[in-house]
């Protein structure tokens, strides 16, 4: 099978489809029963209404079943989240600095870029901080985000499993150019990345202000 951009994508999509699947069944059930009742027990048919004050059995059932369902939803969401937070110790660390309205990426060898370059299949650990207002580092294709806040180092991890370029957006409102605070994460084959990483002269970009 064609692999997703990260294996976490499949996890999130599964949790999403699981919850949405159950929800669609519930929604269609509720709607269908309601419409059926409105026709079946319509006043035009002239039958006498019957006062039913409740039913312990029914009410217990429709508390118990949803309880089990939502607990299972919680569980899958939790497992998926644990997977996201489980960042191996040997992950490659990149510092992310957010400012109105751009991103800087600082690598362990001192290289600084405006776009995030990462090697295929290598776990990445982003340590993120803002120099001004709240931002949020969001890679929709990877289904991950984490806020970037001044005075706080928030962490986000992923392991790219497909070569390509993916959009990075700012998801926390940060003022005038919030919607234009896009950059890219570029996933390269390992060897190509090594070459790029070793060359500290060519692609390094100085941040505009320290």
């Amino acid at each position: 099978m064609f692999p997703g951009p990260t294996s976490h994508v499949e996890t999130v999509d599964f949790v999403f489809l699981y919850i949405v699947g159950i929800s669609v069944i519930l929604l269609l059930g509720i709607t269908a029963v309601m419409i059926y009742f409105v026709f079946k027990f319509n006043r035009k048919k002239g039958h006498k209404p019957k006062d039913i004050h409740g039913s312990i059995l029914l009410e217990t059932i429709w508390i118990a079943i949803p309880t089990v369902l939502v607990l299972s939803m919680f569980y899958f969401g939790y497992i998926g989240y644990e997977e996201l937070r489980d960042i191996p110790d040997d992950a490659m660390q990149v510092e992310v600095i957010a400012r109105m309205w751009e991103w800087d990426f600082r690598y362990e060898n001192g290289k600084v870029t405006k776009e995030l370059y990462v090697p295929l299949s290598k776990p990445i650990k982003l340590v993120m901080e803002s120099v001004d207002v709240n931002h949020s580092f969001y890679i929709p294709a990877f289904r991950i985000k984490e806020d970037v806040i001044a005075g706080k180092k928030n962490v986000l991890g992923f392991t790219p499993s497909r070569i390509g370029e993916y959009d990075v957006a700012c998801a926390e409102y940060c003022g005038l150019q919030h919607s234009m605070m896009y950059t890219k994460v570029i996933v390269m084959p390992e060897r190509e990345f090594e070459e790029w990483y070793a060359n500290t002269e060519e692609t390094a970009v100085e941040p505009e202000n320290k």
């Binding site: 996890t11 999130v12 999403f16 919850i19 949405v20 929800s23 519930l26 929604l27 509720i30 709607t31 309601m34 009742f37 409105v38 027990f41 319509n42 209404p49 006062d51 039913i52 004050h53 409740g54 009410e59 429709w62 508390i63 949803p66 309880t67 939502v70 607990l71 919680f74 899958f76 969401g77 939790y78 998926g80 989240y81 996201l84 937070r85 207002v133 709240n134 949020s136 969001y138 929709p140 294709a141 289904r143 991950i144 984490e146 806020d147 806040i149 001044a150 005075g151 706080k152 700012c170 998801a171 926390e172 409102y173 940060c174 003022g175 005038l176 919030h178 919607s179 234009m180 896009y182």
Partner: protein, 546 residues
């Protein structure tokens, strides 16, 4: 009737006031009659609602295509902030309690008025002053606020717009909410008619009562938070601003400790209205009365414990995220119980799907979609992806507008004959509901898809891949405008030109239907003694002789 003196004059509250002046503006703005106060809220709220709708239409027009369409980004940022501030603080939080709670809570428990009528008038005036301050913050130099309705720090510290005044307006509005809550709680405790035990109270009263507790317990938190922000801004004390050594996450905690329970201030009264309308039009008792009443209280209390689900990506600890996710799923359960009980109430009824009932059917579908998509957001793995995207925007519009907004109209269409003694056009009302439902889904459903595709919220501009869904949503906003014109126009026309209504056109049995339409000044010619359960339709026969 035995004591014919009061009954004899037969005047409605429109013809008789609590003020010296019998007619004109002063007879309204100084009236302590809960019904007049309710109607004054209705007029004020309608104006603010319309303004926020027009703002939304402008935003949707801007978003019809990528790039600039009609406005600059700064204007757009101010507009989405204003839309949120007006809709939340001036329309949906006061909304149903201030209008229908004021008008119908005393009627439904067989009281002459609320416990503190003058305090009630004060609440209204504080509300107007708060609203005036919001307007003032637009006009003063500095310009309209551009921070989003959440006023997140540090952006709200850095923004040069009139933040202090706007949040002070929210502070003032909070007092209106607290005083109304206090008044309702006391009224329910002290002024129930003879025979009305707690479990004979209509469910709208239960819901308003539970809401009132949230209003008085949660609202002070936002008041204190706003004061702290003002202290920080004017005295440079570092509380929230990292530049001063403060903690911006602390602000988010405090903000949501109020604003999440506030979500239940918005939805609980609407749920109460649903529990009134379904029995009346199904002409049978509500299914699971106690479960519905108790689930209101359960929501009111568990609702305090889930605030941090607005902060799953803010960097709070993993343990906190997991606990708040679990609690979020738990708080969904009482709402589910209510939906099942409502549908069960239709079983073996004698259903007459008049316009208020159609509004409720529309509500059940829209609110269920809103609630179920809330589960997607309560789950950690999916929320990390969807937080702060259009998915959230779609979700809360389904809950707030599809839920509370729809029921605001349902309540208006249900209690209209009682409030105004007239009727609206039924055929047009049916068309209004249907068109509203279609427009609503056209306007908001594409936003779920956009959100999952990765479109963040509060974006002036967007990537070209989002264009077609944005276009559908904008078209939906135009259909919605037409639907609202029909829905509101029908009401306005009905108030002035509608045919006269009988005192109980739907065959309701709660106490407000035991008096004339519109009711007299002190509601009842004779305070009723309650002998029946709230939704016991065997009373209908005896009521014919009243």
């Amino acid at each position: 009737m035995a004591n014919g003196t009061i009954a004899a004059n037969g005047k409605t509250f429109y013809e008789e006031g609590t003020t010296k002046a019998k007619t004109g503006l002063t007879a309204w703005i100084f009236s302590t009659d809960h019904k007049r106060i309710g109607l004054m809220y209705l007029s004020a709220i309608s104006i603010f609602f319309s303004a926020a709708v027009i703002i939304a239409l402008l935003m949707r027009l801007e978003l019809i295509a990528p790039g600039k369409t009609i406005m600059e980004p700064q204007t757009y940022n101010s507009l989405f902030t204003l839309h949120g501030v007006i809709m939340i603080f001036l329309f949906i939080i006061p909304g149903i309690p201030a209008v229908f709670g004021n008008f119908f809570l005393p009627l439904q428990i067989g009281a002459k008025d609320v416990s503190f009528p003058r305090l009630n008038l004060l609440s209204f005036w504080i509300y107007i002053i708060g609203a005036f301050l919001v307007l003032l913050s637009l006009a003063l130099p500095g310009g309209p606020i551009d921070t989003g309705w959440t006023f997140y720090i540090p952006y709200s510290v850095r923004s040069g717009t009139n933040i202090s005044l706007a949040i002070f307006a929210a502070f003032v509005l909070g007092f209106s909410s607290i005083l109304t809550g206090l008044n309702f709680i006391t009224t329910v405790h002290r002024l129930r008619a003879p025979g009305m035990s707690w479990f004979k109270m209509p469910l709208f009263v239960w819901a308003t009562y539970a809401t009132a507790w949230i209003q008085i317990i949660a609202t002070p938190v936002i008041g204190i938070t706003i004061l702290l922000v003002i202290i920080e801004r004017f005295f440079g004390v570092g509380i929230f601003d990292p530049a001063l050594g403060g903690d911006p996450i602390l602000y988010q905690h405090l903000f949501w400790i109020y604003s999440h329970p506030a979500v239940y201030i918005m939805i609980l009264p609407a749920m109460g209205v649903v529990s009134e309308i379904i029995p009346t039009f199904a002409r049978r008792t509500i299914f699971g009365y106690r479960a519905i009443a108790m689930s209101s209280l359960a929501i009111a209390f568990v609702g305090y414990l889930v605030w941090a689900h607005h902060m799953f990506t803010s960097g709070i600890s993993d343990a906190a995220r997991i606990i708040f996710s679990l609690l979020t799923f738990i708080v969904a359960l009482p709402s589910g119980v209510k939906v099942f009980n409502w549908v069960a109430t239709m079983y073996k009824g004698s259903i007459d799907p008049k316009p208020p009932f159609l509004w409720v059917m529309s509500f059940i579908v829209l609110f269920s979609i809103g609630g179920l998509t809330g589960l997607v957001l309560g789950s950690l793995a999916t929320d990390i992806h969807l937080h702060d995207t259009y998915f959230v925007v779609a979700h809360f519009h389904y809950v707030m507008f599809g839920g509370t907004g729809t029921i605001f109209f349902a309540a208006l269409y249900y209690w209209f004959p009682k409030m105004f003694g007239r009727l609206y056009n039924t055929k047009l009302a049916n068309i209004g509901v249907a068109l509203f439902f279609i427009a609503f889904n056209l306007l908001y459903f594409p936003k779920f898809i956009l959100g999952y595709m990765g479109m963040p919220r509060r974006y002036y501009d967007y990537l070209s891949e989002f264009t077609s869904l944005q276009l559908i949503s904008t078209i939906g906003s135009w259909v919605m405008a037409i639907a609202l014109i029909i829905v509101i126009g029908n009401i306005v026309h009905g108030i002035f030109r509608g045919p006269k209504s009988t005192s109980n056109p739907w065959g309701g049995v709660t106490l407000e239907w035991h008096t004339s339409s519109p009711p007299p000044l002190e509601n009842f010619h004779e305070i009723p003694t309650v002998t029946h359960e709230p939704y016991d339709f065997s009373q209908l026969e005896e009521m014919k002789n009243e």
